[in-house]
């Protein structure tokens, strides 16, 4: 049951990425290229996704607990720290180079484009490396990890 639900959620998410055009790095890069061949489509992806999530979350939170877990598990931190800003900056630079963020890159993996096959293993290695860096508190010497 848990696996089936996870699979369906992933499938809907993947279909959303494909239909919206997020799995096409050229489209993403054109969205980011304000001074060039600007394609504003992805603003509509964010609009649709965030609006549905905003309303849907509030409906979900009316329940005492999630259907398959004993409690809701939400990020508690509200602190704007160095690792948040540094991480988002590094992510943004990578996104601007390749035109892939994690969801579309994974979703596009079965299409087997050479660029995707170079991107995804490097991203997984980066996730491991970044998690190590966080655990070692490299970015927050005062112990301000989130």
């Amino acid at each position: 049951m848990r696996s089936l639900c996870g699979f369906l959620a992933g499938l809907v998410f993947g279909l959303g990425l494909v239909i919206s055009g997020m799995t096409n790095p050229a489209k993403v890069l054109n969205f980011l290229d304000l001074a060039g061949a600007w394609d504003p489509s992805l603003a509509f992806v964010m609009l649709g996704a965030t609006a549905v999530t905003f309303v849907g979350y509030r409906l979900a939170w009316r329940q005492p607990k999630p259907m398959l877990e004993p409690k809701f598990d939400l990020p508690a931190s509200n602190e704007i720290d160095r690792s948040l800003v540094a991480g988002a900056t590094i992510f943004g630079i990578g996104w601007g180079i390749g035109g892939y963020c994690p969801g579309p890159a994974l979703t596009a993996l079965p299409l087997l484009a050479p660029g995707t096959l170079a991107f995804v293993p490097a991203m997984l290695f980066g996730l491991w490396l970044g998690s190590r860096a966080r655990a070692l508190d490299i970015l927050s010497p005062k112990g301000t990890t989130s």
Binding site: R2, G14, A51, K65, V85, G96, P114, W128
Partner: protein, 152 residues
């Protein structure tokens, strides 16, 4: 990277795709009580393979979620609308991009889905700062590569 490919403005398809992404995020919250952040889900799956800090033991539904992602483009091809994409063939550049995306989302605790969609919908101040930061960094990177270095 790679020649600039013109892409069509697709407001309705993009809005519709966005709605599906939102529905999925709400499913993950209603079912598992969690944020549907893809970098976090990928870390959870990775934690099964290599020892990693801060990943939960419960990787089962996350693995199924990633399998669902993989099936999406295959399903689209089967119903006769294969996915169109233009991916750079500069493999060194793409590997560098992947490395930065992985490191950045791990350090910054989220990506376009976790901070972008889910975080903004939660009205999280942290996520709002993260989204502004990565949008500006990404747009600046594209600007420098395309219009200043001429690496198009």
């Amino acid at each position: 990277m790679g020649p600039v490919t013109q892409t069509d403005f697709t407001p309705w398809m993009s809005l519709g795709g966005g709605v599906l992404i939102g529905i999925s995020a709400v499913m993950v919250m209603a079912l598992f009580g969690r944020i549907a952040g893809i970098s976090g889900i990928a870390r959870g799956v990775l934690g099964m393979v290599v020892p990693m800090e801060g990943t939960s033991d419960d990787a089962g539904w996350r693995i199924a979620f990633v399998l669902g992602l993989f099936v999406a483009p295959v399903a689209m091809a089967l119903i006769g609308s294969p996915v169109e994409q233009t991916v750079s063939d500069n493999l060194v550049g793409m590997a560098l991009a992947g490395l930065l995306v992985g490191v950045g989302t791990a350090i910054g605790s989220g990506c376009t889905s976790g901070h972008g969609v889910c975080g903004l919908a939660r009205l999280s101040r942290r996520s709002a700062v993260a989204v502004m930061t990565f949008m500006i960094a990404a747009a600046a990177t594209v600007h420098v590569l395309r219009h200043m270095l001429g690496v198009v």
